[in-house]
């Protein structure tokens, strides 16, 4: 399910079936690093949207968790765990954090949920059919990480 009015209506009725939150982690930066951060963001968004589409009955795609690139690891971690804890209180059991930002690999998020790090590639210049295929291929790598939690 997506963060839209229409989907929240469905969610209210089917709450007990939706127990997994997917949160994209997007670094934000201006200047020299802007291009890279946009590329990562775009890729992560396509990827998480694909996951949402395939598993919409059980997965809620939350708004992206954004942070400045220079924000310290500790701070980021605290803010993100607060997000997860908040949604855990409201009925979510599983958390999947999807990012293209390497920094997260050094941060231990095990208590909060599953971290998936996938190197980004530029998607904006691909034609739609190709892009869909490429994204699908990458998604197939992460899907087991999510479905394994369920069984």
């Amino acid at each position: 399910m997506k963060w839209t009015g229409q989907d929240t209506v469905v969610y209210e009725k089917a709450k007990e079936y939706v127990d997994t939150a997917v949160i994209p982690l997007l670094p934000v930066a201006g200047g020299k690093e802007q291009q890279e951060s946009v590329l990562m963001g775009e890729f992560t968004q396509y990827l998480t949207e694909y996951l949402e589409k395939q598993y919409m009955g059980r997965v809620y795609l939350l708004p992206p968790f954004t942070y400045l690139k220079e924000e310290s690891g500790e701070e980021k971690k605290n803010r993100l765990t607060a997000w997860a804890a908040h949604f855990e209180k409201h009925g979510f059991k599983y958390f999947l954090f999807v990012t293209a930002d390497m920094q997260w690999r050094k941060i231990n998020l095990e208590e909060a949920g599953e971290l998936v790090w996938i190197p980004a590639f530029s998607v904006h210049d691909m034609e739609p059919g190709k892009r869909h295929q490429a994204i699908e291929q990458q998604a197939q790598q992460i899907i087991p990480l999510m479905t394994q939690q369920w069984t």
Binding site: V10, A14, Y17, V18, K53, Q54, Y55, M56, G57, R58, V59, P128, G129, H132, T147, W150
Partner: protein, 167 residues
């Protein structure tokens, strides 16, 4: 002629004119709204577009195979392409194309991915199951069969049309 012989008084004349003009204005405002409301209903009845999925009839077997194809969406002047999937197979004499959207909460179903039930469609979200012809298996979350595409075979090639619900 004297004033009294006029059948229409000034007051009446004004009333008529105002009602007339008002009526036209109301009609002018309502007509587009009514048309907007009716338009989709009128269009759905019209011949809906069939899309080739690039697969010929001889390539089909009893085993459902997944095909992806793109549909062009016309949303006003904004055109976009949307990827859709279908599970296509031969069911007796006819060609059947099922929508992969689980009728429970909309996840994507796959054929034969559940090891215990290899000859069924399986939804990974809440373990819903469907038979080969799309019938939902009682005791699993879905409450109605998978939706079907309208299928047309032209010169041996398969074309899919709109998606219809079954109950």
């Amino acid at each position: 002629m004297s004033e009294k012989k006029h059948r229409v008084s000034r007051r009446q004349f004004l009333t008529y004119t105002l009602t007339g003009v008002g009526g036209f204005m109301a009609a002018g405002m309502l007509a587009p709204m009514v048309r907007m409301a009716l338009d989709p209903a009128l269009e759905a009845g019209a011949d809906s577009d069939f899309v080739s999925i690039g697969l010929s009839e001889d390539e089909l077997s009893e085993e459902p195979q997944r095909v992806d194809f793109t549909v062009e969406l016309d949303d006003g002047w904004y055109q976009s392409e949307q990827t859709q999937s279908a599970w296509v197979f031969r069911n007796g004499d006819e060609v059947m194309a099922l929508s992969p959207i689980c009728t429970h909460l909309g996840c994507t179903v796959n054929w034969g991915t559940n090891e215990e039930n290899p000859e069924e469609f399986f939804c990974p979200c809440h373990f819903g199951r469907f038979e080969r012809d799309g019938t939902n298996i009682p005791g699993t979350p879905p409450t109605r069969p998978l939706d079907v595409y309208e299928v047309e075979v032209r010169d041996g090639m398969i074309y899919l049309g709109q998606i219809n619900q079954r109950d």
